[in-house]
């Protein structure tokens, strides 16, 4: 974290930090980076990967297609549609 990145975050999040606050934020993230480096140095090669924090598993459903939702209902909130398509600003030249 440096002042350039922090400035971008300020703009993205519509924040306005004082100089003191900026120093505090930069120092805070520098500490967290150091924490991460400590974790990176721990040898986990013989540790089994934790799949999930709880002993849970997904439910599955049978492969049976059902009637889809009404397209008109789904597109009610769309800014623009055309012949069943959603429309977005052109993404290729």
């Amino acid at each position: 974290m440096d002042r350039v990145i922090l400035r971008r975050l300020e703009l993205l999040n519509q924040l306005s930090l004082t100089e003191t606050q900026k120093d505090e934020v930069i120092a805070f993230f520098a500490d967290r980076e150091n924490d991460a480096k400590v974790l990176e140095n721990i040898d986990t090669s013989n540790v089994e990967r934790m799949v999930h924090v709880m002993p849970v598993m997904t439910v599955v459903r049978e492969d049976i297609p059902s009637q889809p939702f009404s397209r008109d209902d789904l597109q009610k909130g769309a800014p623009e549609t055309d012949e069943g398509y959603w429309c977005v600003p052109r993404v290729v030249e």
């Binding site: 997904t58 599955v60 459903r61 297609p65 789904l74 623009e80 398509y85 429309c87 977005v88």
Partner: protein
């Protein structure tokens, strides 16, 4: 300096399920209206939760076992950040940390012999939607019918070194996955897609060169051309400094015969993979695993050996039939029904495959049952139906698989007549109407007899035993 090409493939295969991977919308959008098969889940609406389609996991496991992989008994889904209009949630649900299958091996055969290609992993994921750019100039139209259609991505290690090996590898994948009936694998239909990762290095070097990834190849031939072009481009850049090679994704333009830079290659970090909190781990218990393992088909090479030893088929016939599991099943059932395996093989190779080719159907689209084909063969070998009419019955069976050959033959007048009175009558009429051919035959021209025979058979609509007709015809002419 001599160079060698190093190629790894990422092959996307659309799984042959009825519904999508995380919702119940139909997975078949061919011919559908835009956004006809969509729901809030596959449209990425906030708050919607995915529910895993069991058959996708079944097929992922089956594919893994067919390709010699280890199956991860706890497999998880992850989010891959990708911001583009064809992906409404702005991430793809895929597998990164614990894919369903890992560490496989596929054997291929080329003109240089046999070779093993290592499979790094097979992961299950959802497809993206389709973007249409040519309806209006200022707008991209978005169709989410394909969004969330289930895919597996098969990632190979960089063990391939030529277009010939790549083609052999893709053929082998197609063959194995079709045998397991998990996918259609038809590049022309978009149900199999392939990205080629390619680099070039001095022969004998163990250091990999700069790698480029090529997309947008829609056929095996296009893949071959793309590999040949890209290999030449890399060597040219290294030998003549024509350009600086960079790691990037390139688009193949098959009409221009060139690849073009699309974007600098992303790395895994760019996608910000993280475990999908909306899909709990998929746990494959022993019962589930055993059920899938026991449902695997006999492998093609095992089948080939068996066909030659058990049925006495030749190498060519065996090779043709084992191209498709549907042909194999049809053959085995037909052979059992008619009791003549060689005859059943001949019918499959000469008649069934030619109708499939004529109708531009893949072999796996065969719907004629082996039992019906066997019954038809029995009718022909038993002298009840002529070969020409049997072909007509077979064509009708392609249109309607429920047709019973014997009933159809009876209903359409295709049963060979034993009425010698009718044959005598037809022979008399034909011979008396063509004295020239009779004279030619008597003068030693065998072809003239064939012409008369053909006319008689036509008059009898093919419903006559050829040997009987020939005998009556010759006897009648000899009496003149």
């Amino acid at each position: 300096m001599k160079y060698e090409t190093v190629i790894g493939l990422e092959v996307h295969v659309e799984l042959a399920t009825q519904s999508k991977i995380f919702c119940s919308c139909s997975a078949h959008s061919y011919g559908a209206e835009p956004n006809e098969h969509v729901c809030p889940a596959c449209c990425g609406m906030p708050g919607m939760l995915p529910v895993v389609n069991k058959r996708v996991v079944d097929y992922g496991m089956k594919a893994g076992l067919m390709l010699g992989c280890h199956i991860n008994r706890v497999t998880t889904f992850d989010k891959k950040s990708y911001y583009y209009p064809d992906l409404p949630a702005a991430y793809q649900t895929t597998q990164w940390f614990a894919p369903v299958a890992v560490n496989g091996l596929v054997e291929i055969e080329t003109s240089k012999g046999k070779k093993g290609v290592r499979i790094k992993q097979i992961h299950m994921e959802e497809d993206a939607g389709k973007l249409v750019h040519d309806i209006r100039e200022d707008t991209t139209h978005v169709d989410f019918n394909r969004t969330s259609v289930p895919l597996i991505e098969i990632v190979s290690q960089p063990d391939l070194s030529s277009a010939e090996e790549v083609v052999a590898y893709l053929d082998r994948l197609k063959n194995l996955l079709r045998y397991a009936r998990v996918a259609e694998c038809e590049m022309a239909h978009g149900t199999m897609r392939c990205d080629v990762n390619l680099s070039v290095r001095p022969e004998g070097s163990d250091k990999l060169g700069v790698r480029t990834e090529m997309k947008n190849m829609n056929s095996i031939e296009a893949i071959k051309r793309a590999i040949e072009y890209e290999t030449a481009r890399h060597i040219d850049a290294l030998e003549n400094n024509t350009e600086v090679l960079v790691q990037e994704t390139r688009r193949w333009d098959d009409i221009k015969g060139k690849s073009f830079a699309m974007r600098t290659k992303e790395t895994a970090g760019d996608y910000r993979y993280f475990p999908d909190p909306n899909v709990m781990p998929v746990v494959i218990d022993d019962n589930w695993f055993d059920e899938i393992k026991s449902s695997l088909p006999e492998f093609p090479e095992v089948k080939r050996e068996r066909y030659m030893s058990e049925y006495g088929l030749g190498e060519y016939d065996t090779e043709q039939i084992t191209k498709s599991i549907a042909l194999c099943e049809c053959f085995e059932e037909a052979a059992k029904t008619c009791g003549d395996a060689k005859n059943a093989a001949n019918w499959i190779i000469s008649e069934v495959m030619s109708i499939l080719n004529l109708r531009q159907m893949t072999y796996d689209m065969l719907t004629v049952s082996g039992k019906s084909l066997g019954e038809l063969i029995t009718l022909v070998s038993g002298g009840k139906v002529g070969r020409a009419n049997a072909k007509k019955i077979l064509a009708a069976m392609f249109d309607d698989a429920s047709i019973n050959p014997e009933e159809y033959a009876n209903a359409n007048g295709f049963v060979i007549s034993n009425d010698t009175g009718l044959i005598d009558k037809v022979v008399k009429e034909v011979v008396e109407s063509d004295p020239k051919s009779v004279a030619d035959y008597k003068g030693g021209k065998e072809k003239a007899l064939m012409a008369l025979f053909g006319r008689c058979m036509k008059e009898l609509k093919g419903n006559c035993d050829p040997q009987t007709l020939r005998k009556i015809l010759i006897e009648y002419i000899d009496k003149i």
